[in-house]
Symmetry: C2
Subunit: 483 residues, 2 copies
C-alpha cells in the first residue's frame, strides 16, 4: 500500500487533470451527441491503460462502454459497473460553469459561505480539503479516474491485479439505465463474474471509507388532481369552484403525518426486518445526525427518534415537486383546476413497485377519490366528486447481498487494508439503482462509493473533496489486488 500512496501523491496533478479534462466534455444524459462524445473520451482513457475496450450499442444511441483487463493465472473475475452520464445542469443556478471545473477552498452552503476559486495549482500540490466543482466530478466520473489511477499505481509498483477485471460504464444511469437489461442479456456470458462492484455514490457522512451490500429500489409516479374543465376567475367563482391546489394539499397531508411518518395503511407491511449481522453492522456506524442537521440547516429530522441508518432501511415517500396554477410574477387570479405532485418512493428489500403503487392507490380511494390512469372527461368530473390521475413512471425492486457471504468477507478485507480508519459497512445504501438486474444474472452486488456525502450530486454546484479522490485510488488498488 505504501508504494500505491506514494505514487498517487506524486501524480496528484495528473490525476486531477485527467478528471478535469473528462468533466469538460458535457454529459447531459438527455443529449445523445454529448453522451457519444463522452463514450469516445472514456474509451481513450481505458485504452491509455491497455484495456481492450468496445462500445456496446443500445437502441437509444447512448452506448455502454466495456473494457477487459485479464491477468494470466487469475482464478476469479470482478465486474466493475460505473457510469459516465450526468443529470442536466442549470448554469444560471451554479456559481461556476458546470463543465469548466474550478477548485475552491470552501464548501458553498448557505448565504454566509466564503468563496474563492482558482485553477489547478502550477506546483502540483493539492490540499485534500479543496473541492473541485463541476457536473459529474462526484457522480461519477471521479470513480472512473480513480480506478484508472489505481491501475497506474499498481503498474508503477510492479504489481498486477489479482483478479480479472471487467469494466462496464453506463451512459444512461441517470435515466435509470433503460438499455441495461438488454445489454446484460446480450452479453451475459462475457460479463460473468464472481462479484460486481458498483462504483458510484457517496461515502457515509462520517467521511470513513464505506462499502455497501445493498441498494434500495424505487417507484416513481405522479398524481394530478382535477376539479373542473378550466381554470376559473377567482373573483367570480371563488367559494364555488373547488381549488385543485387545496384538494391536492389535503390529499398530500393524508399521506404523511406532519412529523413525517407515512400514514398509508400497509405501506410498511412488506419491509423485511434486518438480520442480526446487519443490525450489528449498523450499530458500528458512527452517528452523524447532528453534523448533517447543522450542515444543511435542518431544525429536526423528518422522522425523529431513529438513526439515519435505521431510516435508510425503511421505505420513503417523497414529493419531488408540486405544480399548480402560477406563482410570483406569473401569478394571475384564477382558481387552478389541476394540481400535480411528482413522487419517488424508495423501496427496501422484499417490496415490489407495483404492489406498493396499489397500496398507495387504495389509500387514495379510501379518502374518497376516484383514481384514473388518464385525464378525466367532463362527464367523469361531474360523475365523481374527487378525481385524481395516478400515473406510474417507472420502478424496480431493491437488491441485497448477505453480509455473511464469502465474497462480502473478501471485499471487506481488501478495502480495510487500504483504509486508515474502520470501514463503514452498510447493509444497504439510501440511493436506488437497478442492481436487481445484476442479481438476476447471478452477480452479487457490492457498492463502493467514493464521493463526499455533501457533494450536491443531482443538483447545483456538484463538488468533490479531493482527499476522497486520492483515497479512492488506494481503495481500488487494494480491491484489484484481491488479496
Amino acid at each position: 500500500m505504501e508504494s500505491i500512496r506514494r505514487y498517487r501523491q506524486e501524480h496528484a496533478g495528473e490525476i486531477v487533470q485527467e478528471l478535469v479534462s473528462f468533466v469538460r466534455v458535457p454529459n447531459n444524459v438527455y443529449v445523445v451527441e454529448q453522451i457519444q462524445r463522452n463514450a469516445g473520451a472514456l474509451r481513450a482513457i481505458l485504452e491509455r491503460r491497455g484495456i481492450r475496450s468496445e462500445l456496446l450499442p443500445t437502441v437509444t444511441g447512448k452506448p455502454l462502454v466495456y473494457g477487459e483487463l485479464l491477468t494470466p493465472g487469475a482464478a476469479a473475475a470482478m465486474l466493475i459497473y460505473g457510469h459516465y452520464d450526468g443529470v442536466p445542469a442549470e448554469p444560471a443556478r451554479w456559481h461556476s460553469d458546470p463543465y469548466e471545473p474550478v477548485l475552491r477552498t470552501h464548501l458553498p452552503v448557505g448565504p454566509e459561505a466564503d468563496w474563492s476559486a482558482f485553477g489547478l495549482p502550477a506546483n502540483g500540490w493539492f490540499d485534500g480539503d479543496w473541492r473541485l466543482f463541476g457536473r459529474s466530478v462526484a457522480d461519477s466520473k471521479n470513480a472512473i479516474i480513480a480506478m484508472m489511477a489505481a491501475l497506474d499505481a499498481l503498474r508503477a509498483a510492479g504489481q498486477r491485479p489479482g483478479i480479472n477485471l471487467k469494466f462496464l460504464f453506463d451512459g444512461e444511469e441517470e435515466l435509470e439505465s433503460p438499455c441495461l437489461p438488454a445489454v446484460l442479456e446480450t452479453y451475459r456470458e462475457r460479463l460473468a463474474a464472481d462479484v460486481m462492484i458498483s462504483a458510484s455514490g457517496e461515502r457515509h457522512q462520517s467521511g470513513r471509507p464505506t462499502v455497501e451490500f445493498g441498494i434500495r429500489g424505487i417507484l416513481m409516479f405522479d398524481l394530478t388532481v382535477y376539479t373542473g374543465t378550466v381554470a376559473l376567475h377567482s373573483g367570480h367563482f371563488g367559494n364555488f369552484a373547488p381549488s385543485a391546489a387545496f384538494q391536492l394539499a389535503h390529499l398530500l397531508a393524508s399521506l404523511k403525518r406532519q412529523d413525517g411518518g407515512v400514514q398509508i395503511e400497509g405501506f410498511y407491511d412488506e419491509v423485511t426486518p434486518l438480520s442480526e449481522s446487519e443490525l450489528n453492522a449498523i450499530r458500528q456506524i458512527p452517528a452523524v445526525e447532528e453534523q448533517v442537521r447543522r450542515q444543511f440547516g435542518l431544525a429536526r429530522a423528518e422522522v425523529e427518534g431513529r438513526s439515519l441508518q435505521e431510516l435508510i432501511n425503511l421505505p420513503t415517500l417523497n414529493v419531488r415537486g408540486v405544480r399548480s396554477g402560477f406563482v410570483g410574477d406569473e401569478a394571475r387570479n384564477i382558481i387552478p383546476n389541476t394540481a400535480t405532485a411528482d413522487f419517488d418512493v424508495r423501496l427496501v428489500r422484499s417490496m415490489d413497485p407495483d404492489r406498493t403503487l396499489a397500496t398507495i392507490a387504495a389509500h387514495i380511494e379510501r379518502q374518497g377519490w376516484t383514481v384514473l390512469d388518464r385525464e378525466p372527461s367532463r362527464a367523469e368530473l361531474l360523475a365523481h366528486g374527487r378525481v385524481v390521475r395516478l400515473r406510474k413512471r417507472s420502478g424496480f425492486p431493491a437488491t441485497r447481498t448477505p453480509l455473511d457471504s464469502p465474497v462480502a468477507g473478501q471485499v471487506v478485507k481488501a478495502l480495510q487494508r487500504a483504509a486508515d480508519e474502520p470501514l463503514v459497512v452498510m447493509p444497504t445504501e439510501g440511493g436506488s439503482l437497478p442492481m436487481c438486474l445484476f442479481e438476476q444474472i447471478g452477480l452479487p452486488f457490492v457498492g463502493l462509493p467514493t464521493s463526499n456525502f455533501d457533494c450536491n450530486q443531482h443538483t447545483d454546484d456538484e463538488n468533490l473533496q479531493l482527499e476522497y479522490l486520492f483515497e479512492a485510488v488506494d481503495l481500488f488498488a487494494s480491491l484489484f489486488r484481491w488479496e
Copy 2:
C-alpha cells in the same frame, strides 16, 4: 329605444369591425410600447365621435386616456371608467391568435367541443350566438366600442346625452392600476361627477342585463416554506430531511377544510351582514348554480348549501398557484427545501387587507410556524422548527354604494328601460378593482358589466358572445340619456 336598436342592427358589421381593429393592437399590460400604441388607437376612436381627448401621463409610461363630451344644459355629470390593457396571452395555449380575432359558432369547453372558425361575414349579418375570440374582446375593449356605438346611435336618432360624460380609460387595470391614485388626486376637480360607471366585467350567469353596486377588495400575498439550505438527495436523506412540499401541504390543509370553508380563526369576523334591500335584491337573482356546475365540470360547489350570490358576499381564500421542486420531464430525485403558494383573498365590505393578513399570519403562528418577512438564514432555520416567509404583494378594500340611494334608483331605471328582461341587481360583484379610490373622492360606484360570464377573461381563448356586444349599445345609450 327602437331607433337605437335599429341603428345597431344596421351597423352591426361596423361595430364588430371596430372592435376587431382595436383588438389587433396587442395590449400586454407588461409591455409599455404596446400600451402606448393602444392609447393612441383609443384616442382616435374617441376623436372620431368628436370627444375631446387627452393622455393623462403616469410614471410607468402607460397613460390613462381621458375624454369629455359636454352637453349644453346638462345638470349632472357621469364618469365612465374602463380599461384598454390586457393580461398577457400565451399563444401556444390558445386555439387562435389572441391578437387576430376570429368568429366561432361553438364555445370551446371540454374536449368534445365542435370547432369552426371564420372571418367577418361579407354580408354584414351576425348571429348573436356567435363568439369573437381574442385578448380583451371581453375584458374590456368591447365595453369601449359599445359605448362609442351608443353615442353614434343617439346621434343617428337625433338625440343627445342627458348628462355630461367624462371618460377615463386605464392602461394598467390588470396590474391593479398602480398610477390611478395619483391621477385621481391630480385631476380630482376635472373628474368630479354625480355617479361613476365602471364599464367592465361579466354579466350575471343567467345572461340577463346586470348592474352592480359594489365590488370586492383584494389581498394578494405569498407563502414560502423553508426546510433547509439546499435540496437534498431523496435516497440519501429521505425520512431524515423534512420536505418543504409536504410541510406546505399541511399548512394549506390547515387553512381550509376539504369542503372549502376557511378555518382561520377570525377570518369572517369583519364581514358586515347584508342590509334588507341587499338581501331582497339577492333573492330576485335567478339561480344558475346548476348551469355553472355542469358547464365547467364541477361535481359540487366548494362550499355547499349556499347560493353563488351568497358566496360572493363572503370573503374567499384562494391559492392561485403552488411551486415546489420539479415535476414531469424535469423531475429529479430531490427533497425540495422550499415550497411556495401564491394567494388571492377577496375582501367584502368592512374588511381591511392588512388586518386580514395579520389574522392569517396569527393562524399560521398558532400552527407552530415562525413567520418571517424574508428568506431565513441557516441560523434561523436551525433555531425554529417550521419557518415560513409571508410576503404581501398588494391589496385594497371593497366598495359599496347603498342600493336605496337616489343615484342607484336612477341607474336601475335607465338600464331597465333598455332591457327586455328584468335586470339583475347585485349588491356586489365577485371581482376586485380599486374602486375605493373613486369612493374616496366622492364618486359613488356603479358597475355595468357587458360580457358573457363564460368569456374566459384572464385566461386562454377569451371570447365575447356577440349579442352581449349589441345589447350593451342599447344599455349605454339609455344610460347616457339619463331619463
